[in-house]
Amino acid sequence: MTAIPPTGTTPPAAAPRRSVPWPRVALHAGALAVLAVMLYPLAWLLATSLKPAKEVIASLNLLPSHLEWSNYTTALEGVNGVSVWQLLTNSLLIAGGAVLGNVLSCSLAAYAFARLRFRFRGPLFAFMIATIMLPHHAVLIPQYIIFNQLGMVNTYWPLILPKFLATEAFFVFLIVQFMRGLPRELEEAARIDGCGPFRSFFLIILPLTRPALITTAIFTFIWTWNDFFTQLIYLFSPEKFTLTLALRSFVDASSQSAFGPMFAMSVIALLPIVLFFLAFQRFLVEGMASSGVKG
């Protein structure tokens, strides 16, 4: 693919070779300019988290006059007497549970939809797809009532349990799409050798589905980590707060003195996502791309 010139451009082969490919230079200049604007908020965040209180506002200067590391030590003390480590642990617990739940339950459902035959498969599949478009708010209040009756409000169950029940249909769809691309001959050979659907699933299909499962795991982690609405509704004890929810305490804060620590904490809350992104960007970008194109 790299050797073939991009389609759509008229091949410049006929023209004498110019030393500088100006259209391409312009393209790169444009892309870098857009990138600079896009990265500005992130640079601003990083810079502000290290600024002394009086420089936060009133200065267009991105760089602080000196690095105020105390913002971070203040941030590590946490909010409402709960340390950042506790908040971090809580966030990790919820995100970890959600990842496990989604990977497990969504791959099971996806295998049935992609490979097995059962009554009402068509209508049920259509229903599953439809729930991707269902606004969360339509089920929110009764779900809250259910979890309240079960005594699970202000615990992590409402945040984790639904993931074990394949409620995020987007991932079921993603894995179905991937499984459909796997050759059927593998299972048919296994079936002749006496493999039932369970062994076929665990020994043959699941290992081959790994890219889709990794995509599911990473997206689940990042989305759960970023999720604010569900946590806002279900959690109210400060010691059970996640990092995202703890940042909420700053939403009402208008005092400028809290700015440095607030953005230091924002950086800490973003760090896992940034690390995930750097480590798995290939899976993330390709997972996203394949979700929209094959459908």
Binding site: T10, L42, S105, A138, P142, A166, E188, Q281, G295
Partner: protein, 313 residues
């Protein structure tokens, strides 16, 4: 899909309707075992709550006392007596209409630019995608509020004062945060662009079609399913925006309710004011509106979405 099945082990799996064979029955049973978590989730956490939510929307319910049937009272109040409701509808619709087309236009433009790049494509693709993951976080929402605040960067550069404190402009700030996350639709556009066969362009070039002509006659039609996918997905998401509105407005939907997005008002009615019946009615109207908008998009898509593999059907 199913018709391409090769019956390797005959009689194990009947193609006929009733799977009378023992093997067929067992496989059917296995399917339900695989499906059981989903079936439980779909019934207990999706279907049942939808029905309950519809019921509650006709009641007065505060979580502590039993729901009291009030008929259409919530809907009547919502549509005729609650100016804040209409303000939330207004700002949400304005936001959807501004943010979604703008975001998709930027996404498509950048995707087209990247398509022509030989070097650095992978780098740009990842870099432009990053905000799509970070942008949903409270951290970035707080950054947004500070940048668009009085004395923030935008104020300093444009001298417009703080957008966050001005009705109308605050909504625009939230919309820009959405546009900033154009990376996700861009990546999908880019993947779609790469699937367009190069021969089409070669043939068009032979026929003397210029770049613009090629874009209109080849790129756009071939890309239309992907445009449609992005449009539906982003619109549905935009109707439900919450975190940035919450952060930008200090959780209250200000100034002058201009960022009181629909979901923020629903949260306020249900979980702050304990009017669960009213919030349920709001949720059902949202469900119907999103359903209707999606249906209209699917219906009109027949005239502009082009599926190459269905040609001549």
């Amino acid at each position: 899909m199913t018709t391409t099945d090769i019956p390797v082990a005959p009689a194990r799996e009947g193609h006929g309707k009733p799977p009378k064979k023992r093997g067929g029955r067992r496989r059917e049973g296995a399917a339900w075992v695989f499906l059981s978590p989903w079936v439980l989730g779909a019934s207990v956490l999706t279907l049942l709550p939808m029905a309950v939510s519809l019921y509650l929307s006709f009641t007065d319910y505060d979580m502590f006392n039993a729901p009291r049937w009030v008929g259409l009272r919530n809907y009547v109040q919502m549509f005729t007596e609650d100016p804040r409701y209409w303000r939330s509808v207004g700002s949400t619709l304005t936001y959807v209409v501004i943010a979604v087309p703008l975001q998709l236009a930027v996404a498509l433009a950048v995707a087209l630019a990247l398509k022509f790049m030989r070097r650095g494509k992978a780098f740009y693709r990842s870099a432009f995608y990053a905000p799509s993951l970070l942008g949903a976080s409270m951290s970035i929402a707080l950054v947004w509020r500070a940048i668009f605040n009085d004395g923030g960067t935008v104020d300093n550069l444009l001298g417009t004062g703080g957008w966050v404190n001005r009705p109308g402009w605050a909504m625009l700030a939230v919309a820009l945060l959405t546009v900033w996350q154009f990376g996700a639709p861009m990546v999908i556009f880019l993947a779609g662009l790469q699937q367009i066969p190069g021969e089409l362009y070669e043939a068009a070039a032979v026929d003397g079609a210029g770049r613009w002509r090629q874009f209109l006659s080849i790129t756009l039609p071939m890309l239309s399913p992907v445009v449609f996918f992005n449009l539906v997905l982003q619109t549905i998401q935009a109707f439900q925006v919450f975190t940035p509105a919450f952060a930008v407005s200090g959780g209250k939907g200000g100034p002058a309710d201009s960022t009181l997005f629909y979901t923020l008002y629903l949260y306020d009615r249900g979980f702050v004011a304990s009017h669960m019946g009213y919030a349920s009615a709001m949720a059902w109207v949202l469900l119907l509106v999103i359903g209707a908008v999606t249906a209209v998009m699917f219906r009109t898509s027949r005239s502009w979405v082009f599926y190459a593999d269905e040609e001549g059907r």
